[in-house]
């Protein structure tokens, strides 16, 4: 039993980019179009690490780096040689309708608006803020209403890690930050970021949290708040200036190369400047490309199929 098609699983964030490449690959080569399924980063890596063989995927996309525990699982199941590829990054933006005045936020302010409990006099109390200007008088007089991704989404994880966790110390949390508020000020809004965009367009009080690509798609109607003074732009995200950005990855199972036809060609196409370069096609659909140097470094690592080591991940 063998397989003709490449099988790709993984992140829903990377999915639009990867499926674009997949389609391009199918159209421009004689290989069959790979099968790609959006399972989420965690789900993808789980399937990926299940073992070697036609019933397991060849490539898994991820909107975060592989975890050491996942790496271990891979090793246990005989997926020993893995190539890691970084394709770019994704900024997470706080956006609002263009009908509002532009807003500048800091991560602490966001934390105070979103957290379930906030520190007051060294104690954690239930979040008392209903209005942005209660947090800081410089902020607009608007009800706090934030539409964001649900707990099942990797974007949410990233947001909590990069904003909430990161700011908790400077905001004076006596212990670890734990939860997003559940009193209705923060609204879990489904995996479909598109809907969030639509809704903040209609509800001008609200902010939405989603990936940068959606901002770009809808730049005529929504705009992003600056965070810690940095405006999310492809440049600032790619350079790492914008604080709420994460990298996008995919992982290749070495053992499948040469068994499933076309993996090599697919990977080359994906890593080509044509795709992830600064004029690449993926940029058009919202990928934040890597800075020149980093990109060529990764292109080379991938071309050489440098094996992923556990130490890389720690």
């Amino acid at each position: 039993q063998e397989r003709e098609q490449i099988r790709i699983v993984g992140s829903s964030t990377v999915y639009p980019f990867a499926s674009y490449v997949v389609e391009e690959f199918g159209a421009t080569t004689e290989f069959p179009t790979p099968v790609i399924e959006s399972t989420g980063s965690g789900g993808g890596l789980r399937l990926f690490c299940e073992g070697v063989g036609v019933s397991t995927p060849d490539i898994s996309n991820a909107s975060r780096r592989m975890k050491p525990s996942e790496f271990d699982r891979c090793q246990e199941n005989g997926v020993e040689e893995i190539t890691e590829a970084k394709i770019g990054s994704d900024g997470i933006v706080m956006a609002q309708s263009v009908d509002n005045e532009p807003v500048a936020l800091t991560r602490e302010q966001i934390l105070l608006a979103v957290a379930a409990q906030v520190p007051q006099d060294g104690e954690l109390v239930d979040n008392p803020y209903d209005n942005w200007n209660q947090i800081d008088s410089s902020l607009p007089d608007r009800e706090i209403e934030i539409l964001g991704p649900p707990t099942t989404s990797g974007t949410r994880d990233a947001f909590e890690e990069l904003v909430m966790e990161a700011a908790s110390e400077s905001a004076g949390y006596p212990e670890a930050y734990s939860d997003v508020r559940a009193d209705g000020a923060y609204v879990d809004s489904g995996e479909n970021d598109n809907l969030i965009v639509q809704r903040i367009r209609e509800n001008t009080d609200a902010f939405g949290i989603f990936g940068y690509s959606f901002l770009e798609e809808n730049s005529d109607t929504i705009e992003a708040a600056t965070i810690d003074g940095v405006e999310p732009t492809p440049e600032s995200i790619s350079e790492g200036e914008y604080p709420v950005a994460r990298s996008l990855w995919f992982y290749i199972k070495k053992a499948h190369e040469g068994v499933v036809p076309g993996i090599d060609e697919y990977v080359s196409l994906f890593m080509d400047d044509l795709m992830i370069g600064s004029d690449g096609l993926l940029r058009d659909i919202g990928l934040i490309v890597l800075p020149e140097g980093e990109r060529s470094e990764w292109q080379e690592r991938v071309a050489n199929r440098v094996n992923l080591q556990r130490s890389d991940l720690e």
């Binding site: 098609q5 421009t28 099968v35 399924e37």
Partner: protein, 390 residues
């Protein structure tokens, strides 16, 4: 006096009241039906009004110039001012073609290709464009370089990330494969179970348990069948994820009770005297079933099967769980290959950001509904045709 007895209702307040209540109740009932019918009407007109635009699209006439640069990047085969108008999909395969047919180099070819999704949307009045592009498109429209036509692509292509290229073929074929597996599994097993229960089984606790169990299965939420398919077919039997086989078997289990129940009804509709007559002729039980009961009940069984399959064909939730919401631009060619199905395709399109996919979604729905309604109509006709009065 005698007359007043039977017709004197005019003055009888109580009777008046009863008749008014009668009238009211009748109106309630009729309006319930009217309301339901109005909902159906709204529903269909809504879907159709959203989706009919997807059945036509705009094409632009281009001259493909198979030059050297095009051999590397297909877009260069186009006139510069058309590069932002013609779909990228039209030219991306040019390098491959030129590699395979070196004699193409240096030649040109005039042809029609779809315009980009957003331009198509603009021309259909769905969105605006940047002023410069708009002027250009308007001009081309005027010159007849851009023309509208029937969108055959929608029926001959698979999914695409470029909305102007997206079609339903691969999903339709996936549906076909899945249904094939479902039918192959659920029909024989369902009919055999029904025959056992209706014709063979003694009426004891055990049989009753099977019966209750089947009724229950018919009402188990479909998503739970998804969990079942995931655990049993994919994780235990190792059927490839996303494959028509995995989806088909999962739906097969789901359709099984429906087929059993309708087959039993069909068998039960065969009048007992026929059986008794056959038994009295010295038929064994199996011969009675094979020669007398099945031939008569076959139309009924088929009707139930068609309805069960139609239901399976519209099912999405369990297929999400077994991984059939995948991006499958090419139609599968085998039962173990990854496939997607029409409702899953609709679900995916419904979640796409580009506006062009809204009409695709609605058009996909129109196609799916057309198929389902014709299946159901076939079932109804079959039933009508073979309906017997005993």
């Amino acid at each position: 006096m005698a007359t007043r007895r039977l017709t004197g209702s005019v003055n009888d307040a109580r009777l008046q009241r009863r008749y008014r209540a009668e009238q009211r109740f009748r109106i309630y009932c009729a309006s319930a039906v009217l309301l339901a019918l109005a909902i159906i009407l709204t529903f269909f007109s809504n879907i159709i009004s959203q989706g009919y635009t997807a059945f036509w699209h705009h094409e632009v006439q281009v001259t493909l110039d198979y030059n050297e640069r095009a051999a590397r990047i297909g877009t260069f085969a186009l006139d510069e001012d058309l590069r932002d108008i013609a779909s990228r999909g039209a030219t991306r395969a040019i390098p491959l073609q030129m590699r395979n047919n070196p004699e193409l180099a240096g030649t040109t070819e005039t042809t029609w290709v779809p315009v980009r999704g957003e331009i198509d949307q603009y021309l259909k009045g769905g969105r605006d464009l940047e002023p410069e592009l708009r002027r250009q498109v308007d001009a081309l429209m005027e010159q007849g370089v851009i023309q509208s036509g029937f969108n055959t692509r929608f029926f001959t292509a698979g999914d695409s990330k470029l909305p102007e290229l997206a079609g339903i073929l691969s999903a339709a074929i996936g549906s076909l494969y899945v249904l094939f597996v479902t039918l192959l599994f659920a029909f024989p097993v369902g009919v055999m179970s029904a025959i056992y229960l209706e014709e063979f089984a003694p009426d004891n606790r055990f049989t009753q348990a099977i019966e209750v169990n089947i009724n229950n299965l018919a009402a188990v939420p479909s998503i739970i069948f998804g969990l079942l398919g995931l655990a049993v077919f994919i994780n235990f039997f190792g059927v490839p994820r996303s494959s028509a086989m995995a989806g088909g078997l999962t739906l097969g289990l789901m359709t099984l009770p429906i087929i059993i129940i309708s087959t039993r009804a069909a068998l039960r509709a065969v009048p007992d005297p026929i059986r008794l007559g056959a038994f009295a002729m010295g038929c064994s039980r199996w011969q009675v079933v094979r020669d007398h009961v099945l031939p008569v009940s076959l139309p009924g069984i088929l009707t139930g099967t068609i309805i069960g399959l139609a239901q399976a064909m519209g099912e999405t939730a369990p297929l999400i769980i077994v991984g059939m919401i995948a991006y499958i631009p090419e139609a599968p060619t085998g039962l173990f290959e990854s496939a997607t199905v029409l409702p899953a395709q609709i679900f995916t399109w419904a979640g796409e950001p580009e506006k062009a996919y809204v009409e695709k979604t609605a058009a996909g729905i129109i196609v799916l509904l057309a198929i389902l309604l014709s299946l159901n109509a076939a079932a109804v006709l079959l039933r009508r045709k073979f309906e017997r009065r005993w």
